[in-house]
Symmetry: C2
Subunit: 195 residues, 2 copies
DNA sequence: TATGTTTGTAAGTAAACACTCACTTACCAG
DNA sequence: CTGGTAAGTGAGTGTTTACTTACAAACATA
């Protein structure tokens, strides 16, 4: 079920991402979007019926992108390696497209509509769908600790990841997220590995 | 340095908190605030010079409240117990005043002004100022693991806490945050305790 | 050459926003 | 009784917002 999107629509979605990064949710207006696209406000409405549809298209693209990239990762093998590559993949993507960080982790967007709220929840759910089995298998194989439930490990890991992204964003993407992020993942792995 | 605030001003701040909980950042308008206070919009401006000042007063109150409550906790003793009570205190407070959760953890607010951004950073800094020494002492006493730096433990713990608050908020404060939160803290403690 | 479709524009709309102003009321001190 | 001050109101202000409408140019197809 791939939601189709035209080239022009994708350009607009990318422009929206850039605006989000530069000026935050409150900066994402049709006026700014038109300016970024270098054409009129009305032209935006030739490609999307509403602002909500633009945000939904952006989140939809992100959800599919994450799903696709995760599905390419090996489904078997060392859980520790799979755990690592899951996050390496995320850091690589966000390093390349920092303007999407604001979109995924901005709760300001959620307030705009129920549908946007749902899409963001779905993105989070996709990540858990790939992460949880890795943890569970790691526990089964005796690589990860069984002293706490797999769900709690997922919560702790996701929390650390989100906070990492938050810090990266509020410092204006200055640090290299691949390096600082992977350091953090290493620390977490040290914690959850069976001694 | 206690920022003074009149009774009426505090009522307005509380009303703002309630609106944030019910309708989010976008719902926090002067019109809604006036409605909640049951008087006119213009009356708000008798007590605050701008909307920004209201938000700053709210965050200022929170920062002081957190600082004060933390400073009351015992400064010595079992690090594990101190760690626990630090978060128990937080969960107790937010259970009692859920309308402030949105204020502290809402990045939508941050975009409104530099000063608001700074105040929110300060609240986070206060928490770290109390949390980090507990971790460091716990490591020194051999209670907490030294396999990763204290700063990384703080990051992981804070991330898990924030995500817990986030989940609580998006599920409309349905669960008992004292119970679910303390379960989470217990899991984290299991992870960071020296084996 | 005619015709339809796509993609753009200039100029608007109504609603929502933070904030202001002239004025009133209540109360308290001298 | 008088005058000052704190705290309220109704009716505005100008600006920004998402979105609309009437129209035009470009271009492929019949």
């Amino acid at each position: 079920m791939t939601t189709e999107i035209s080239d022009r629509q994708f350009e607009i979605v990318e422009a929206a991402g850039k605006i989000l990064t530069a000026s935050g949710v409150s900066g994402l207006t049709i006026k700014n979007l038109a300016k970024q696209m270098k054409f009129s406000e009305a032209a935006i409405y030739r490609h999307f019926t509403s602002k909500e549809q633009i945000i939904l298209a952006m989140l939809g693209y992100l959800a599919e992108s994450i799903d696709e990239r995760f599905s390419r990762l090996p489904e078997h093998g060392d859980p520790e390696e799979r755990f690592k590559s899951l996050f390496q993949e995320q850091f690589r993507f966000f390093k390349k497209h920092p303007h999407f960080v604001v979109a995924v982790f901005s709760d300001g967007l959620m307030e705009e509509s129920k549908r946007i709220n749902a899409k963001m929840a779905k993105i989070m759910e996709v990540k858990i769908r790939y992460l949880l089995p890795v943890i569970v298998e790691g526990q089964r194989k005796g690589v990860f600790t069984t002293s706490i439930p797999a769900e709690d490990i997922v919560h702790i890991v996701m929390g650390a990841f989100r906070l990492q992204m938050f810090k990266w964003r509020v410092t204006n993407f200055q640090s290299d997220i691949k390096i600082t992020g992977e350091n953090m993942i290493r620390s977490i792995l040290t914690l959850i590995k069976k001694k």
